[in-house]
Every structure is written in structure tokens, then in C-alpha cells.
Assembly symmetry: C2
Homo-oligomer: 178 residues x 2
């Protein structure tokens, strides 16, 4: 029950942002990210065109919250233009800036995949345009375009694997220092 309420909150956040419609109209802009984006390495023009049609594109003003830590989430974001700050709450409840990301970066994949609460808060730092890929649309891609679906899944697996290596190595350093 609580899950539903917070899931609604996560989706509702999008309705507060400017809806720019289907990503189909942004295919060229998304394609320009290829070569500058880890996510799109090895994607060709057709892949991007098909994927873009499954995206819905939004625009956020500086300071607008796109994702809030703790909300239930079922979509990932692709930053098409602009800059997004990533915050995490510390044990005192204070918001700490973890990093900032720009175009070509994907966010929120973990919740898209496992449906667990959002791990961090994302706030537009500049005027930001981003595409949204929901879990339902990811499933549709896998069923309707299995080859592209596998390509996206392989990309997600690779990115998560690299982040896990990096995070585990950092954790071991901290553990060694205790």
C-alpha cells in the first residue's frame, strides 16, 4: 500500500515537468550522443531511432527535482541536454551532493530493473532535457525488438558490473582503513 503511494509520487513528479512528447522527434539529438556516451557505445542509427520511439521526453527547469531518494521508481532517465546534480541523504538527514552528470548519462537504472526505492535524488542544475524509459517499455522492446533489447540489457549489465567493481574496490579500501 505504502509502495503504491510512493510509486505514484515518483510518476507524479514527471507530470510536474514539461512533457515534450515522444522521443521519436528527438532521435537525431539522441544519436548525436553516440560516441560521447557509455550507454550508446556500439549503437547504430537504427538502434537509436527505434529506442527513441520508446522514450518520452521531458524538460526540467533549474532546481526542479526529477527523482527523489526513497520514492518507488520504475523508469530510467537518459540526459539528452543539460546537467543533473545527484544527492544522497546522510545519516543526519542532510542532503549531500555526490556528483553531477551531463548529456549521454543514464540515471535510475537500478529502480527500473528491480523496482526498489530510488537510491538518490536527482535535481536539474541547468535547463535539462531527458528521455524516460519505463520498465513496461523496456519489456516491450525485449519482446518486440529482441536484438535491440539484448543490446540494451548487455549495456546495463556492463555498466552495473563496472560500477559494482568500482564501489566494491572503494569499500575494501575503507574497510582496510578501519
Amino acid at each position: 500500500m505504502a509502495k503504491n503511494t510512493t510509486k505514484v509520487a515518483d510518476r507524479k513528479r514527471l507530470t510536474e515537468l514539461e512533457d515534450l512528447g515522444s522521443g521519436a522527434a528527438f532521435a537525431d539529438q539522441v544519436f548525436s550522443l553516440v560516441g560521447h556516451s557509455l550507454f550508446f557505445a556500439e549503437f547504430d542509427h537504427d538502434d537509436v531511432k527505434v529506442l527513441a520511439a520508446y522514450l518520452r521526453v521531458y524538460h526540467a527547469q533549474p532546481g526542479q527535482t526529477i527523482i527523489r531518494e526513497g520514492d518507488m521508481g520504475d523508469y530510467m532517465l537518459l540526459v539528452i541536454r543539460g546537467e543533473v546534480d545527484i544527492y544522497k541523504q546522510n545519516l543526519m538527514g542532510d542532503r549531500q551532493l555526490m556528483t553531477s552528470v551531463t548529456q549521454g548519462v543514464t540515471l535510475g537504472e537500478m529502480s527500473m530493473i528491480d523496482g526498489e526505492p530510488r537510491f538518490a535524488t536527482c535535481v536539474a542544475q541547468k535547463e535539462t532535457t531527458f528521455g524516460v524509459l519505463t520498465r513496461d517499455d523496456m519489456v516491450k522492446i525485449i519482446l518486440e525488438k529482441p536484438s535491440l533489447g539484448s543490446k540494451i540489457l548487455i549495456k546495463l549489465v556492463t555498466m552495473l558490473s563496472q560500477r559494482l567493481r568500482h564501489t566494491s574496490a572503494t569499500l575494501l579500501q575503507y574497510m582496510g582503513n578501519q
Copy 2:
């Protein structure tokens, strides 16, 4: 060049273990893991039968090293029977036991995916039977059996996502304690 040498070492390690042949003969044993294994949740009998045929099964004696930290690796393991200890070298070069895993658990997925060096050492703690899935065979599954390929990729993405959440949360606790 060094990469090749260590990759050979990783593969050579398998040749030192007892080769039990194709996983096809182990399909029923692998299917008995469904329900006891995070990896196999939602796999039906046909999925397991197809996947098993892509595995090669090995047997390790207690104390035999299956994977060594730092070696280049391109396969993952599925523990079918037995127990495996996972070790990680600390900054002093000493081997520390991180955890032990039993049947149904997969190991070495990160290197299968990204081809980077093995993150930890795996040693058979008891008589252990395990299946090996190489990256080449994973690619074959994706091409030849796209539906099963997607199922495996979704499972890998989910498992990595959950580990990343867990590791990140632990890291944040350590960082908060500095």
C-alpha cells in the same frame, strides 16, 4: 600480452579440474535448483534444459582453486553441488575469507560480462560440481535463443543491481563513520 597470459591461466585452471562434460546430462540436477536459487527464479524446465546444454560441468576437490583474483576471465560459474569459499587479498597481500556459497549461486559474472580481471579467488571448500558458461556461449544463447538470452540478462542485471545497492549502502555507512 600480459592479458593473454593471465587469460590462459584462468582457462588453464579448468583443465586441472575433472571435466564432467556437457551440462545437458545435468539438466535435472540444475532444474532442482529452481526455487532455491536467485538466478533461476522464473526459469521453467525448458529454459533450464536449453541453458544446461550450453554449460560445461566440472568437479573440484576440496582445496582446489577454481578462480584466482587478478586472472583475466571470460566465464561465469553456477554451483550445482558443494561449497565454495570466496577470498579477497587485502592491502598486506593476505588472503581474507569474504564469504562461502553453496548450490544455486552464480560466481564470476562480472568478468564474464566485462572481461576485466577476476575480482576474488574461489576455492572449493567441499567436493564441488559446477557449470561454466563462457562469454562466447552467452553470445550464442542471445543469438540462437533470444528469449532465454533476455531472461538470463535480466537476471544478471537484477542481481548486479541488488549487489550494487547493498555495496553502495555499506560504503556510505563507512564513509559516514570517517
